[in-house]
């Protein structure tokens, strides 16, 4: 009767601990891997965007109508001067791709910062003060969630006119909902901790309690959401530009490049394949980085 675990191998604490540890370890390792891979690829793309003027073999805007739609290096009749070929206006595709990374990254990061500021301000305010303030902010969040992003973004971009700045502002003012929801519940949790009561009992003014006691303890979530929102914004910009209501020609937005290549889809499908792959790789890298950070900072939240 002393050794219950003998009959139930699954209840053997040692065994359970070991399998748990293996699982935990595996998650840690896979989390670190996805940070390494995602971060590495993202880092390479960031460097590419930063050093675009040095890396790009041609001017991304200079047209040469005599060299229209030259195929990339893996196809016949390629021109070694244009490794990834040229577009329908004879512009070097590789150069446009390299400069395009600037646009995607710029949109992703700026949008995530704007929406992050709006969303965390709302979420932390709602979570910290509760009561009526919380009710009002929750209502704002609910209203925002019941508006379809693409449709509203299209309508607003049409209103202000498509441009890089317009897209950043519009997406920034639309994509704050996830920050708000997560920061609200994280703040609700943190504000019930005794260290918040202790700070208030010391006479800490509210702004200081929020900034120095609450914020450092919820900022983890912010970083994780921010990476996902960067990816989200990059994809949305591509969609908007594809629909003609985002970044305007002749800027080399990857989404716009796909839109411009659409009419050549029949005979030159590589025109849309290349920017599409670039977009997917960038977004995948950002997502992997986000997944990795989330798993490392809070492995229990994985599922």
């Amino acid at each position: 009767m002393n050794d219950i675990s003998a009959d139930h191998p699954k209840l053997d604490p040692d065994n359970a601990l070991r399998s748990n540890l293996t699982k935990h370890l595996f998650r840690r390792i896979s989390a670190h891997n996805s940070i390494l891979i995602g971060g590495g690829v993202l880092g390479a793309i960031v460097l590419m965007a930063l050093f675009a003027p040095l890396l790009a073999p041609h001017d991304p805007f200079s047209q040469d109508l005599s060299r229209r739609l030259l195929p990339p290096f893996w196809m016949e009749d390629n021109n070694p001067k244009h490794i990834l070929g040229t577009d329908n206006l004879g512009r070097d595709y590789l150069s446009r791709l390299i400069y395009g990374a600037q646009i995607s990254l710029m949109i992703g990061v700026c949008t995530a910062i704007i929406s992050g500021i709006i969303g965390s301000a709302l979420g932390i305010t709602a979570g910290y003060f509760g009561g009526r303030i919380d009710a009002v902010i929750t209502f704002i969040i609910t209203t925002r969630l019941s508006m379809p992003i693409v449709l509203v973004a299209l309508a607003v971009v049409a209103l202000v006119g498509g441009s890089l700045h317009a897209v950043i502002l519009v997406l920034g003012f639309l994509l704050w909902d996830r920050y708000a929801v997560v920061m609200r519940s994280a703040t609700q949790q943190a504000r019930n901790m005794d260290y918040v009561s202790a700070a208030r009992a010391i006479g800490c003014p509210t702004w200081r309690v929020v900034l120095s006691e609450i914020f450092p303890n919820v900022v983890n979530n912010l970083i994780v959401i921010a990476t996902f929102e960067v990816a989200h914004a990059i994809l949305l910009e591509a969609s908007l530009s594809f629909l003609g209501l985002g970044v305007q020609p002749p800027d080399p937005s990857w989404g716009l490049m796909i839109a411009e290549g659409k009419e050549f889809l029949l005979f030159d499908p590589w025109v849309i394949t290349i920017p599409g792959i670039a977009l997917s790789i960038l977004v995948l890298a950002v997502n992997m980085l986000g997944d990795g950070i989330r798993d490392v900072s809070a492995p229990e939240n994985r599922n």
């Binding site: 209502f139 019941s146 693409v150 509203v152 994809l235 969609s239 629909l243 889809l265 977009l279 997917s280």
Partner: protein, 305 residues
């Protein structure tokens, strides 16, 4: 539960009202309706006349109230480009979009639920990891590009499906897959975690202990309980698909309200944009409401808070 429902209905009405205000003012700020109606080269007198005729010289609040009251009766005004009224236009185009969103939902459930169940039966196995990794990696692919690539592959190279349009059910295969694919990971994840929870519950162990066949236990007892939250999620996803349809429809040239919205935005056809914005938002609100009710019915704790 009644209490919760009533409170939710009040909230939903308020949200719907707010959204209608946003839909009206957002679009009205986008352009001068009178100039659009009168044409580019109209003179000031003509524009002033147009303003009088359409009541555009009244205060915006009055115009909003007027618009909302007519909209509630199904009268959304006239389009600038189509001979039909906006109400007729939307009624004509809505079925295509609903069908597309519905088939997208079916696709995501057909992929998401089975893989979620398999993943839950063998958690942390290779099936679990690989199906989840593929699903997550797929999220990185832009919808419109995925649609175009499928079009190239199945429509142009393999010639298995029509390339674009919405005339037959075959036309819906590629768009439905493109749309549905993006809702697969959340459905898979929720099915997996729901099944994991249910499978470890006492009554399932009892069912096994009674000697019931494993498959019978799985389908009759476990899946039935795990699937209700998935239905709640599916209702929210259906809303996302209505909104996602705008991109998909323009890729595949399907004449739904998404395509209509896009055309109208490009042409500044204000009455149509307002109507579609309002209708899609109302669908969203309604579907979220259904999902909330389902979740509250499942989990009494939600009702109280």
């Amino acid at each position: 539960m009644l209490n919760f429902t009533v409170r939710r209905i009040v909230l939903v009405m308020l949200v719907a009202l707010t959204v209608s205000v946003i839909a009206f003012f957002l679009v009205r700020l986008s352009g001068d309706l009178a100039t659009a109606l009168a044409g580019e080269d109209a003179n000031a007198q003509e524009i002033a006349d147009i303003k009088k005729i359409y009541g555009l010289d009244r205060p915006l609040i009055v115009q909003y109230a007027d618009w909302l009251l007519s909209a509630l009766r199904g009268d959304f005004g006239a389009s600038l480009y189509f001979p039909e009224t906006v109400g007729e236009l939307v009624a004509m185009r809505l079925p295509t979009t609903l069908l597309l969103a519905f088939s997208g939902l079916v696709v995501s459930l057909l992929i998401g639920i089975p893989f979620g169940v398999i993943a839950a039966l063998k958690p942390d196995s290779w099936v679990d990891r690989i199906s989840m990794s593929i699903a997550v990696a797929g999220q990185a692919i832009p919808t419109f590009w995925m649609g175009l690539m499928l079009m190239v592959l199945f429509g142009l190279i393999l010639r298995l499906t029509p390339i674009s349009g919405d005339e037959s059910w075959q036309h819906f295969i590629l768009p439905a897959f493109t749309l549905g694919y993006y809702s697969t990971p959340p459905i898979m994840r929720l099915t997996r975690s729901g099944m994991l929870e249910v499978l470890s519950a006492d009554y399932i162990r009892t069912a096994y202990a009674k000697g019931l066949k494993p498959l019978r236990v799985l389908f009759k007892h476990a899946l039935r309980n795990a699937v209700i939250p998935v239905v709640a999620l599916a209702s929210v996803q259906f809303g996302h698909m209505l909104s996602g349809a705008i991109v998909i429809e323009s890729v595949f040239a399907m004449q739904g309200i998404g395509y209509l919205a896009w055309e109208s935005i490009l042409r500044n056809d204000i009455a149509v944009i307002q109507a579609i914005l309002l209708i899609v938002c109302l669908f969203y609100v309604g579907l979220t409401f259904i999902s909330d009710l389902l979740n509250a019915w499942l989990d009494p704790r939600i009702r109280v808070s």
